[in-house]
């Protein structure tokens, strides 16, 4: 099947040729910024983020609360391990999913539960029946309370969304101010070889489709825990 590539492109060019649209009525002179902006123009308008790391962590914590993301700051990896052990016991985890990742491996040291590891592929049913998925992340976004994950930092596409509880381990050095900084980070990190999947996770899965009433855990995790470790 060939499709209408040439025809559609022809129609687009025909529609635009000598037929300028009126410029948008904008009160600020942003046309040049838009045509060739460096990606920073929006910082002027978007929600404000503090200058220092403690301010950013506070903002992330505050937004997390509104989102019902369970946010914990811990001083050491062994404190993080204690926290995880407690979570596992309280929630009665029987099996968890994880992936090969420096901090995730350190966090799971000594955990005796069966672990489904995703990095080399997995059976969907096996991952689906896990009680939690433990992953790393690329960055945390102070401005939105978001967690950026990718194939590499979160063990593929499904580990962070299929099990009913998603636990993320991050370090304070991974806190960035805003989405723009998050995009800059991935551009630097991956160059042109982007992973096929990048996602901002902002709170546990939710829906308001029944009478606009908020319900958590629609299809993705009902619980989202962020463990922030001092770098």
């Amino acid at each position: 099947m060939t499709g209408g590539r040439a025809i559609i492109l022809g129609r687009i060019r025909e529609a635009l040729r000598n037929n300028p649209a009126p410029r948008p009525h904008t009160s600020h002179s942003q046309s040049e910024a838009a045509a060739d902006h460096n990606g920073h123009a929006q910082r002027e308008w978007l929600p404000k983020v503090g200058e220092t790391l403690p301010e950013r962590i506070d903002l992330f914590a505050k937004i997390s609360e509104g989102l019902t993301t369970e946010f914990h700051r811990v001083p050491t990896m062994s404190a993080a391990r204690d926290l995880l052990t407690k979570l596992a016991a309280e929630s009665g985890w029987k099996k968890i999913g994880s992936h090969s990742h420096h901090d995730v491996d350190a966090l799971l040291e000594g955990v005796e539960l069966p672990i489904v590891r995703t990095e080399k592929g997995y059976a969907i049913d096996n991952l689906e029946s896990c009680d939690a998925g433990i992953t790393g992340c690329d960055v945390l976004v102070a401005q939105t309370g978001g967690i950026m994950v990718s194939v590499e930092s979160a063990g593929g596409r499904a580990l962070s969304v299929l099990p009913p509880h998603h636990v993320v381990i991050a370090r304070t050095s991974q806190m960035v101010p805003d989405l723009t900084a998050a995009f800059e980070h991935v551009k630097q990190k991956y160059g042109k070889q982007f992973p096929s999947f990048l996602s901002f996770i902002t709170g546990p899965s939710r829906t308001g489709d029944i009478e606009r009433i908020l319900v958590l855990g629609a299809h993705g995790p009902k619980r989202l825990t962020v463990i922030l470790l001092d770098s």
């Binding site: 499709g3 209408g4 559609i8 492109l9 129609r11 687009i12 529609a15 635009l16 300028p20 649209a21 009126p22 948008p24 009525h25 904008t26 942003q30 046309s31 838009a34 045509a35 990606g39 929006q42 002027e44 308008w45 978007l46 929600p47 404000k48 992936h99 995703t118 997995y122 689906e128 939105t144 194939v151 593929g156 596409r157 969304v161 989405l179 723009t180 551009k187 982007f194 992973p195 096929s196 999947f197 990048l198 996602s199 901002f200 902002t202 899965s205 939710r206 829906t207 308001g208 489709d209 029944i210 009478e211 606009r212 009433i213 319900v215 855990g217 629609a218 299809h219 993705g220 995790p221």
Partner: protein, 468 residues
Amino acid sequence: MATQSADFQTLSRRYTADKGFRAFIQKGMSGYYKKRDLNKANFQDWQGARDLAAEIKYEAINHLDKYLLEFEAKITARGAKVFWAQNAESARDYILKVAEENNVRSIIKSKTMTSEEIHLNDALEKRGFGVFESDLGEYIVQLRKEPPFHLVFPAMHLTRGQISDLFQKELGSEPTDEPEKLTMIARAVMRRKYCEADMGISGTNFAVAETGMISITENEGNARLTTSLPKIHVALLGIEKVLPKLEDLSLFLPMLATAGAGQTMTCYNTMYAGPRQPGEPDGPEQLHIVLLDNRRTELLADAEQRDSLGCIRCGACLNVCPIFKNVGGYSYGTTYGGPIGSVITPHLRGLKNWKHLSAASSLCGACTEACPVKIDLHHHLLQNRRNGAKSSPNPLEKVSFGGFSLLMGHPALYRLASGLGRIFQPLQGLVNGTILDPLRAWTGSRKFPTLAPQSFQEQWKKDRGGKK
């Protein structure tokens, strides 16, 4: 009269008369208004953000060929297939072909209005494919065999009682009046479908030219599952959705969330750069992007209304529209309802049958003010009215305006007419609004103001005693 217009009148009359229904919709919206305003206030300058968003869209739409080609080259290099579909039929045929060639049995879908536009589910079901909508609202309306009521909130017209009845009947579940339990019933059903499906179909909120990515925004996680587990991913993409740069998303994602649902960010905003790459543990083996024109280029050719291609389908204009809130989503009879639907449907499906939608407006401008990308919606409604009057003039309207201008241009005639009016108005009062009333179309729902016993001129003459 075109049947679409007659249907609109019948349905909108029925919905408007239902006060309980209107109150229910209003109540559903009230939480949204509050959260939207809180989040807007969080922006350093929401108006500045709108300006920049409008400028970025202006740049993208007015260089659409360039950015589409850049997008295509980048995402193709990553192993995706891009199919350019001129119309609904060619898009459907392509997707059917992909499904058949790969021996697909079960298809899971995440929310996509574009698939409603091309009536994809029907076509797939007719060929024997099982198709399941995974977004909760979409799943509910699919079970009811209804189209979505609203661009963003597909099932907002239904009460929990109706949904519980539906689930009892269709799924054999226990009755409940808790939204939480109802959601969990749907979750459990869908979990099975995810594990079995071999094709996932999604929409696309944005395409990024610079990096060759598609971006999908959702709250439930259903789109992420749809694009992770099945071995084939088909993404529908209107040609107008391309953005130049990756960083543009850092403006559009929070704006879409705020305008669309009063959120800081939608729960999941996911960027896909191709199908599963070598060394990656999961994800589809194939990614097909169906790039759809379906008369969007008609809209592009109308320079005056070209900005309406910048629409990010946030639904904000519907949520504030006094017409939408009263007549509801189904009266429109279109895929895209509310102000934006009234603007673009005449371009996508013909002015003749759809111009009446632009008349259903109070021209209050609430839509234009709500629009995050500053589409000049209420002026476009006026332009559609003008275009409609030009292409198929209404003779009665012509005669009345002719008469009106004759009257206004000749003081003597005007005096005569108002004098006669004063004599005949009491008689009209006897038949007001009834079938005998010649002005019934107008007076049926409005009061004609009583003519003053004396004209201004007469009063002036009398009171000032002819003094200069």
